[in-house]
């Protein structure tokens, strides 16, 4: 047997030592103290076991229990090599119980929809973005501005992306402008109250929140953004640094939930605004890292993307989750992500190569000059939508084909569970009371918007 074994003290009333030590299992054992027949109370003169002290197998019966505080140091990655934890290391439910106790979820962790910039129902290029209050671009992502904005930017779905992602949202400045005091432009996403209420904002139970994202820019320096409530009277400016131009970097920002202010609860209103600033004047900028009773959108002195002609800014992998840790990106199936987007916007388009029948629209005569179209949407809409029409459409019945005019009105049987909006559209000579089917020319579409 390698090494040596010294028995220093024995309980003489119950002198009873059984050693079952096989060669190579214990290279060196330095024991002191009193031992009962229930096992070893201490190993080593200083109470430690070195890395190589136990080289063999320690079975479950050898260590009955490890109290909560027995492991006080860090178990580094090299201490437990890959694929060495057996199925029974963690009892069933232990990890789940821990996660639940911490208020952390496993699925659908990401409150951001389309965080990977994959869904683009409206198209992939949005140019000429300027002084019109704002416009939705890639699904759920809104380009917006404040003030009399004279800059111009273009938003595109771009294939530049870090490993693990296929697309990003790209902003490019095509007309630069200096950011005046109350001027700003930004890319932002509004999160519905139903999907945010559990964070407890505005209460003493407000949850810590972590935002993570991948970003790159042609510019370097300190960039800004903010979390804002729906009334825009509570905000938390945050900053992040881009160190190297035109290089993807991942950022993580953890904030304490807001315990003050008015935050919309479980409703279909805006629960939270997540804002990435592309330039903001001093009136809309503040100090990073604290909640303020104002509608700030960025941090003072941040880089202005809109201030530099042809400057670019990209973002993808955006994740907003409960807790203080930025977990790996919550990849969701494409169909799931698309349906999440379609609660807020649905483009019903004829994407075929010819004029075609659109199955999820039926029409009836409303008056001689209007037809009433019922549209079945793929997801329950957030609220009664606005509807616009683009391209040439027809209604057809019994060999009669009538071209549709403009939209007149929209109504809905909206409730929390279903949504089938109805739109009235002008037409002529609707003399028949029969039902009508709807046909679209190539690329004709209805835009159905229930965005926040």
């Amino acid at each position: 047997m390698a090494g040596k074994l010294i028995v220093d003290t024995i309980d003489t009333d119950n002198a009873f030592i059984t050693l079952n030590v096989q060669q190579s299992q214990i290279a060196t054992m330095n024991v002191s103290g009193i031992y009962s027949n229930t096992g070893v109370k201490m190993i080593g003169a200083n109470g430690t076991v070195s890395n190589t002290a136990i080289t063999g197998l320690v079975t479950a019966s050898q260590i009955a229990n490890v109290a909560n505080t027995q492991l006080t140091g860090t178990i580094t990655g090299s201490q437990i090599s890959s694929n060495t934890l057996s199925n029974t290391v963690f009892q069933t439910g232990s990890v789940e119980n821990y996660m639940n106790a911490q208020g952390l979820g496993f699925g659908m962790r990401n409150r951001i929809i389309n965080g990977a910039a994959v869904i683009a129902q409206r198209g992939t290029t949005f140019s000429g973005l300027s002084d019109d209050g704002g416009q939705y671009t890639l699904d759920r992502w809104k380009w917006a501005e404040n003030g009399t904005f004279t800059g111009v930017q273009t938003v595109t779905q771009d294939t530049s992306a870090p490993a693990g992602f296929s697309y990003s949202l790209k902003v490019q400045t095509t007309t630069a402008v200096a950011v005046a005091t109350s001027l700003s432009c930004r890319v932002e996403q509004f999160i519905e109250g139903f999907n945010w209420a559990d964070m407890g904002y505005g209460t003493a139970n407000a949850k810590t929140t972590t935002l993570s994202f991948w970003v790159r820019s042609s510019l370097t320096g300190t960039f800004g953004g903010a979390f804002r409530n729906s009334a825009d009277d509570r905000s938390y400016p945050f900053s992040y640094t881009i160190s190297v131009a035109d290089t993807w970097e991942q950022k993580s920002i953890t904030i304490a939930g807001d315990t003050s202010g008015t935050w919309i609860g479980a409703t279909n209103g805006t629960g939270l605004r997540v804002t990435f600033s592309l330039g903001a004047g001093t009136a809309l900028s503040g100090t990073a890292g604290a909640w303020v009773a104002a509608g700030t959108q960025s941090v003072t002195g941040a880089v202005s993307v809109v201030g530099t002609l042809n400057a670019t800014w990209y973002v993808t992998g955006v994740q907003l989750e409960k807790g203080s840790t930025a977990t790996s990106f919550d990849y969701r199936p494409y169909g799931t992500e698309l349906q999440l987007c379609q609660r807020y916007f649905y483009r019903l388009v004829n994407a075929s190569a010819s004029t075609g029948y659109v199955p999820n629209i039926t029409g009836v005569r409303y008056t001689a000059n209007e037809v009433y179209l019922g549209i079945t949407c793929p997801a329950p809409l957030r609220t009664t939508p606005s509807i616009s029409k683009s391209g040439t459409m027809y209604i057809y019945s019994g060999g009669t084909n009538i071209t549709l005019g403009g939209v007149v009105a929209v109504t809905s049987n909206y409730n929390s569970y279903t949504s089938c909006p109805n739109v009235r559209v002008t037409a002529t000579s609707i003399t028949s009371n029969t039902g009508w089917i709807c046909e679209f020319d190539i690329n004709a579409y209805f835009d159905i918007s229930a965005e926040l």
Partner: protein, 56 residues
């Protein structure tokens, strides 16, 4: 910019049309609809929509 529209059966105004760049957007009278919220803000700023056409 905004024009009211009437329901030809009830003869009551029941929707709003917003025209921008040749695109007509039908907006419902729904307080949760953000286009309707924008319309209300526009009215609150002192603007007046074009009245609805009268039925023929």
């Amino acid at each position: 910019m905004y024009k009211l529209t009437k329901n030809l059966r009830t003869n009551e105004v029941d929707s709003i049309i917003k025209e921008k760049d040749g695109v007509f957007l039908a907006i419902p009278f729904d307080p949760d609809n953000t286009d309707y919220q924008a319309y209300l803000k526009w009215v609150a700023e002192g603007n007046t929509p074009t009245p609805a056409d009268e039925p023929n």
